[in-house]
Amino acid sequence: MDTLLPIQDRGGPAQPLLLATGLRKHFPVAGGLLGRTTKVVRAVDDLTLSVAKGETLGVVGESGCGKSTVARLLIRLITPDKGTMVLDGDPVDEPHGITVNELRRQVQMVFQDSYASLNPRLTIAETLAFAPRAHGLPAAEARERVRDLLSKVGLDPANYATRYPHELSGGQRQRVNIARALALRPRLIILDEAVSALDKSVEAQVLNMLVDLKTELDLTYVFISHDLNVVQYLSDRVLVMYLGKIVEIGPVEAIYGNPQHPYTRALLSARPSMDPRKRTKEAPIQGDPPNPIDPPSGCRFRTRCPFAEDVCARLEPPLADAGAQAVACHMRVAGSGHSKAVAA
């Protein structure tokens, strides 16, 4: 019987905790005559990423860029059309690898809407004990686990265990969701806009708690957010997405200090300045992100890019090393045909 002990590390610190290769997810759009599939939303296209043990990987991008689809793919809430995943050396959902259920014990998720993610008819204790009980933990041990989890997220067990979700504030509910994500002693937690719905004063409390829990429980985070400041605060590495593709990935200092892709630059300079004497004079780019149905050919950012040239429409730029980070832009590829391309 599974007694839910902490999972032992297998491959050592050099082996990525999670390695996803060539992930692709296209969603068919029903339409036209007899509801036949006429179009596809190319939510995530040939995405390769690795998450190192003990790091926080931040994922940023605007709505429709596919960041939430990535989260759902990593925990297999949706099945990829193509691509493989390896968790600490074990292929996922393959004959000689681990099952999706085993993946979900080791990888857990926290969602944005703290209320919709909790069952309104279960008390907090019942919610937190649900997964450990399903994994065969005896009732007495599960009760002990619930008390322990609630204290870990800063909620007094005596006061909160018997309450229902509607009796808690948004911040308290999100603490419960984090406790539930910890219930099976996972190694990786995917936080999909987990603090976005919280008020600033409460957001700061939860961010402090996430930092503490990571050290205490030796966790790895994938932190998805549209808030660039929060991602900068929390992440070791940052991945920038645009219309289902990685445009830039690298250490947080490089992405924020020396962004290379025109989109990353625009995203960073679109942040409000926080200084009334240095107000933004001009928007860095015009227009809205295009629809991920039928994205532009070649480089998907070219329709909004101030440096777009012919080559950008013809060829898709590869994700190539550029200093500390990797960038998908023809201007960073020697001999790409772009007039501003770097020298070989």
């Binding site: 008020d199 605060y233 924020y256 409000p272 300045s273 928007a283 860095p284 992100p289």
Partner: protein, 323 residues
Amino acid sequence: MTDKTNLLEVRDLHVTFVTPDRTVHAVNGVSFDLARGETLGILGESGSGKSVTLRSILRLHPEHRTRWSGSIRLQGDEVLEMGPKALSDLRGQRVSMIFQEPATAFDPVFTIGQQIAETVRRHTGKSETEAMKRAKDLLEMVRIPSPATRLKAYPHEMSGGMRQRAMIALALSCNPTLLLADEPTTALDATVQIQVLLLIRELQREFNLGVIFVTHDIGVAVEVSDRIGVMYAGKLVEMAPVERMVDAPQHPYSRGLLASTVHDGMRGQRLDSIPGAPPDLAEVPTGCSFAPRCKFVRPDCTAAVPSLRDVEAAHAVRCVLAA
């Protein structure tokens, strides 16, 4: 350009929502002035009463469940005593509002052009052709590309940023003097948000509008406001010119809010968060509402509600500690 006479004067506004189950004291004594051509940012967290205050200016709350007291004067006219006709003119012409979610603010079964033209005809008596011409000019003004085609578009055919621009066009269609903005950029992407903020700032200058901009985002408030008022539990706790508010906030809540907002250069530091959560608004507060979360709390904080006092010109603070 700010001129001296006040466009709007709000005095000791109280708004209470009463239902058979419960009573919510949403706004508990808010007073402020707004000059023509001035942008006031109202900053607060959910439940602070910022949106309720804003909607009170148009009396958008359900009449039979809302109790008001105090005064809201627009160019001398008392809004809380207006009859249906005056109220209709107020809402259609003198004061306009833009909302967070333009997708739900537009009617999905009429085109953008029809909706703007209808408003123009109703409030200015123009003919249908003239009104449609005005609608096209308005779309051009908010820099919607190919406005003539966009007039015939339905709301769902436009992107979020375009819809918000169209809503601004609708709001400005009858030349209002006061524009109320309720988190108009919160639902937009970062690169689109800044475009809309710049547009609002530009139109505000061009038409010398008074603007009240409600937001929970300090960065956004700093980007658009001349003055910022911070609300907590239905009260203004601090009001100051934007530079003052950023450089030297006085109220412990304003200071906490600025300190707990993550920005550049805070990596690795522990965030200075405010403990606890905002109070339940079922009771009328008898002392400072922030006292239970305040690290500088003293006995006189809970003895009586502190008054909003000037600490210097144009900078008022509701705290017993403010010098």
